[in-house]
């Protein structure tokens, strides 16, 4: 009976969430019964750019069930992050529309059918104006402005290491590549939504949100509605996926809350799938113009990158995805490689497209795609095996300061690659590949060694550098924990319970983890940027240790033992070395609450603590390697993933099963990024992919079985966890693209734009076949 030995941490504990999720008993925002609730339908802009000449709601107002029809003047709020961005999106378009799908008019009716009927009857007279849609063209035309007179290039940054120019010039070889990622969006299973109820008796607003950041949402509502924060309660029911997309506060959120106040009735809006594709945060609309300097061995001396991102019509609130994508990509562009010199130029511009926000990995999938593309190109240029060129320059000394100034804590960069290559049987596939090429089969192997900066003090979900947990041992000895996190499917109710159970020597089922209610949870930053396990877990551990201390003090008093000698294990407090001198925790807790005369004067009744945890480092780096084997059918352009191996190192594993679930999901999304998903715009700014027929998500049959192994290099944070929510999507597109390029090497075909479509492959192969030799 050694209480410090973890029983639960590291075990494959079945997720406590799954029973309700898999049996259809989870309750999402749309399931909440809200008597008398009005539903909202939005009239959204059909134009990428137009002046609104006139809005006539008269016909619609007369329709059955319609209660109110609002334009900007009815909810004159702008989601402006002042001091950070020059403009903010109005809750409803104010005289001008700037992207297709922008909310223009809100129709409130008894149900969504009636609201949509009426929305159709609202007459809006638009005067179409020219739209700026193409990122490269926008960057080249500084005179094009989406918000004149505001500078359209709303972020511009330059950085270079000392001695960059010299190092770059002295290198024997150089190459240039333009990398392009196309627009994507998260496509959560549960769409966005909001519901609000104002209680005139308590003068409090209850806001039901499908968000990753309950407390930030509360702060935003308080600010825009002009309410004190203790009069706003944010409740987050079950959330069916967020992936960063639900880390924003959106115009629709403000509109729904405002309407509940003004109309005096509950109001709800749930996005449909078309609205999701139009108006959820988009992501990944980036260009990287890269120049690389290297030597004949394949050692990279210096990288210069002009990073451009199309931020859409407005900065998302409270952050612009374009800034997140480029700003952090510029800092991790050299990835796991010892590349001494770096020069970056960042340009974020406005366009007449949907605002850019976060999507899982944010900068990471783009940076990895660029970084691994660079290494593969260099390998090809010097005629070496891509694994060999990686071995030359993988980081093996820690802490490592990268050329952008980020300090990497220890990781297993080299080991992860070697283990992944072994797992996939690299040499055998190289043989297969050569044999295949002779027979007209195109097999390719792609390697992606990644770093994942995680648990950042500031992330998209909030800017607070800590997390908080309130723990209460109830009179029964069972524990209720309340955290400020905003899980969207990650299984925190299981993992946090595992940490707490071990710290208190109780069973996982004796811990209930609450989250997503600002009335019960201490203020927290929410979930995003892979911060929950590390920072939230640290808070859970800190609170559990302090609660344990309280319990031990009470037990020591009752057992007439020294505090230092009291141990918690198996639901009991006992005296070390004397297992017979023990009290069940239920007894300790009962006394602490209800038999307080026995506590003596010096002990405080009750067993409840709130603790906050700040990690010692500004971030911790997970790492790992993905290796993909693909077969390209050069006649059809279709790609099949034959094998997929992952070696992942995220420090201490709380629950390997949950970690592996995260990895498989990220690989699935990586398949989408590499081959399928694109939000396509026409030249005049119409989004042409507004259904899941056109916006292709990976299906089960597209996702290969993923073979996973773990390495464990603990972080310096309490518990040793590192964040790992994004690494698999950071790594996967690069591995898959690398594999396709590797397969087509004999044809000298090279892709540096994703998604790689069958059409692109067919065209490239034909072009090559028809080119004069």
């Amino acid at each position: 009976m050694e209480h410090s030995r973890p029983q639960w941490t590291g075990a494959r504990v079945a997720r406590v969430e799954d029973a309700r999720l898999l049996s259809g008993r989870a309750r999402y925002l749309d399931d909440l019964p809200l008597p008398g609730c009005l539903e909202v339908a939005f009239v959204r802009s059909p134009h990428a750019h137009a002046r609104i000449r006139r809005i006539d709601p008269r016909l619609a107002l007369a329709m059955p069930g319609v209660v109110a029809i609002w334009t900007f003047s009815d909810c004159p709020v702008r989601l402006l992050q002042s001091g950070v961005y020059p403009v903010g999106q109005p809750a409803l378009a104010d005289g001008e529309v700037r992207y297709v799908g922008e909310p223009v008019v809100a129709v409130f009716a008894a149900d969504r059918y009636l609201a949509e009927d009426a929305a159709e009857a609202v007459e809006v007279d638009y005067e179409p104006l020219p739209a700026y849609v193409d990122l490269a063209a926008i960057v080249e035309h500084p005179d094009w402005a989406v918000h004149p007179p505001v500078d359209n290039r709303y972020v511009h940054r330059e950085y270079a290491t000392e001695g960059f120019d010299q190092a770059f010039a002295q290198a024997p070889h150089h190459l240039r590549v333009r990398f392009r990622t196309r627009r994507q969006t998260a496509v959560t299973l549960e769409p966005r939504g909001a519901a609000a109820v104002f209680d005139p008796a308590s003068e409090r607003l209850t806001f039901y949100a499908s968000t990753q950041s309950p407390h930030r949402m509360r702060g935003d509502l308080a600010k825009f509605l002009g309410l004190p924060d203790h009069r706003v309660r944010v409740v987050v029911p079950e959330v069916g996926g967020g992936f960063g997309m639900k880390a924003n506060t959106y115009p629709e959120d403000i509109l729904v809350a405002w309407a509940a106040l003004k109309l005096g009735r509950p109001v709800r809006w749930v996005s449909d799938r078309m609205e999701s594709l139009l108006a959820d945060a988009h992501a990944r609309d980036d260009i990287h113009d890269v120049e690389v300097a290297f030597d004949g061995e394949g050692r990279i001396w210096a990288v210069a990158d002009h990073l451009m991102a199309d931020g859409g019509a407005y900065p998302g609130y409270p952050f612009s995805g374009a800034v997140g994508e480029t700003g952090l990509a510029a800092q991790v562009l050299t990835g796991p490689y010892q590349i001494p010199h770096l020069k970056t130029t960042i340009d974020c511009v406005f366009s007449h497209k949907t605002p850019l926000g976060a999507y899982r990995g944010v900068w990471g999938p783009i940076a990895s795609f660029v970084q691994e593309g660079i290494v593969d190109r260099v390998a090809r240029a010097v005629g070496k095996d891509p694994a060999e060129v990686r071995r030359l320059q993988l980081i093996d000394q820690f802490p490592y300061r990268n050329p952008a100034g980020l300090v990497y804590d220890p990781g297993s960069y080299r080991d992860s690659m070697e283990l992944a290559l072994k797992a996939i049987d690299y040499d055998r596939w190289r043989d297969e590949q050569r044999r295949g090429w002779r027979e007209g089969r195109y097999l390719g192997i792609g390697i992606s060694v990644f770093v994942e900066p995680s648990a950042m003090a500031a992330s998209e979900s909030g800017s607070i550098p800590y997390e908080a947990a309130t723990l209460r041992m109830e009179p029964s000895g069972k524990v209720t924990a309340s955290l400020g996190l905003g899980p969207t499917g990650q299984g925190h109710e299981t993992t946090m319970a595992q940490l707490i159970a071990d710290a208190l020597g109780i069973a996982v089922e004796d811990v209930v983890v609450l989250h997503g209610d600002t009335d019960s949870a201490p203020l927290g930053g929410g979930t995003g940027g892979s911060r929950s396990a590390t920072i939230g877990g640290g808070a859970a551990l800190t609170a559990a240790e302090r609660l344990g201390e309280k319990v031990r003090r009470v037990a020591a008093h009752l057992l007439e033992a020294d505090f230092e000698d009291v141990v918690l294990a198996q639901g009991q407090a006992y005296v070390r070395g004397v297992p017979s001198r023990a009290l069940p925790l239920a007894e300790v807790a009962r006394i602490a609450y209800t038999d307080v005369a026995r506590l003596g004067p010096e002990l405080e009744p009750g067993l409840e603590v709130t603790a906050r945890y700040r990690p010692p480092l500004p971030m911790t780096f997970s790492n790992g390697t993905h290796v993909a084997v693909v077969e390209v059918d050069i006649e059809t352009g279709l790609v099949k993933v034959l094998r997929y191996a992952v070696v992942n190192d995220c420090g201490t594993l709380i629950n390997p099963q949950i970690v592996e679930g995260q990895i498989v999901g990220g690989v699935a999304q990586g398949v989408g990024s590499a081959f399928l998903e694109e939000l396509a715009y026409s030249e005049d700014g119409q989004l042409t992919t507004t259904t899941l027929l056109d916006y292709r998500l990976p299906e089960a049959t597209d996702v290969p079985p993923v073979e996973i192994q773990h390495l464990t290099t603990p972080s310096a944070s309490l518990g040793g966890m590192k964040g790992m929510g994004e690494g698999s999507l950071i790594a996967a597109p690069a591995a898959l693209v690398g594999a396709v390029n590797d397969a087509l090497a004999p044809l000298e075909v090279w892709f540096s734009e994703i998604p790689i479509t069958p059409e692109a492959i067919v065209r490239a192969v034909r072009r090559r076949a028809e080119a004069p030799r």
């Binding site: 059918y113 078309m274 279709l638 299906e699 049959t701 069958p758 034909r766």
Partner: protein, 261 residues
């Protein structure tokens, strides 16, 4: 994404159903796998919806051994086409193609008649019917008429089906001497085709029927041995761009390969 208001009708007999088809802006609801999404997008706005799912006798699969003919009711679901023993025995190529339609949930609802009346150029079944030389029974209040599949499809989502007519059945005469092959190129399992083809080999004569290539299914007859060269020629005009032509060619060549020698 809610449909515009409509009146819902649930007739119990074919006679009742075709009588309702005279109503203004009327649409037939069968499996609803294309119509319902279109209505939800308000791209289709029927004022009257006639639900034929409750009509008796339209979901049969019958083999007539004397005529060597398979008769399929309009309400036969794709999943039934894909798995029914009679279809698998007499028209295995049709069963195979039906298995490529959408996913299980779509196949369990979607109907043969619905797919044919909808006439999506990238769908599997209209081209199958053209390739198989099927004929369709069209019922109206004034009686019934039979139309060959080759004449039924007029163009993009367009057929000869009149507004007051209901497609009730399909008949296919089975040619025991023919060898069949099917191949479809799609981005993902269950997607509409980038290109697909049926190949029929009878002695030295090859018939190729494409879907996902032009505005409607079309057939080309070739002599064995000249196939590949002739294909290039045919497809020059059929598909507008390099990739589409390539897919059309590859689908045909692979279908032909599957038809065997």
């Amino acid at each position: 994404m809610k449909p515009a208001p409509f009146v819902y009708h649930r007739p119990r007999t074919v006679e009742e159903a075709v009588a309702l088809l005279g109503l203004p802006a009327c649409k037939v609801l069968a499996g609803g796998q294309s119509l319902v999404p279109l209505m939800n997008f308000r791209l289709s706005r029927p004022r009257h919806l006639v639900d034929i799912n409750w009509l008796p006798g339209l979901d049969g699969v019958e083999w007539d051994p004397d005529q060597g003919r398979l008769r399929l009711g309009a309400l036969v679901r794709h999943q039934v086409l894909a798995t029914h023993p009679l279809v698998r025995r007499h028209l295995p190529v049709l069963a195979e193609a039906a298995g490529h339609i959408g996913h299980w949930a779509i196949r369990s609802r979607g109907t043969l008649g619905g797919s044919l009346a909808h006439a999506d150029p990238a769908a599997e079944l209209p081209a199958a019917m053209v390739a198989l030389g099927a004929r369709f029974c069209l019922r109206s209040q004034s009686g019934e008429r039979w139309v060959d599949a080759g004449e039924f499809f007029q163009g993009l989502f367009t057929t000869v089906l009149a507004e007051d007519e209901l497609l009730t059945a399909v008949e296919v005469s089975v040619d025991q001497s023919a060898r069949w092959g099917f191949y479809e190129i799609a981005r993902r399992v269950g997607d509409f085709a980038l290109a697909g083809a049926y190949a029929r080999r009878r002695g030295g004569v090859i018939d190729l029927t494409w879907f996902g290539v032009g505005p409607k299914p079309f057939t080309v007859e070739l002599q064995a041995g000249e196939a590949e060269a002739a294909l290039e020629q045919v497809l020059q005009t059929a598909a507008e761009d390099v990739a589409a032509r390539q897919w059309a060619k590859v689908a045909a060549m692979r279908a032909l390969q599957r038809a065997g020698r």
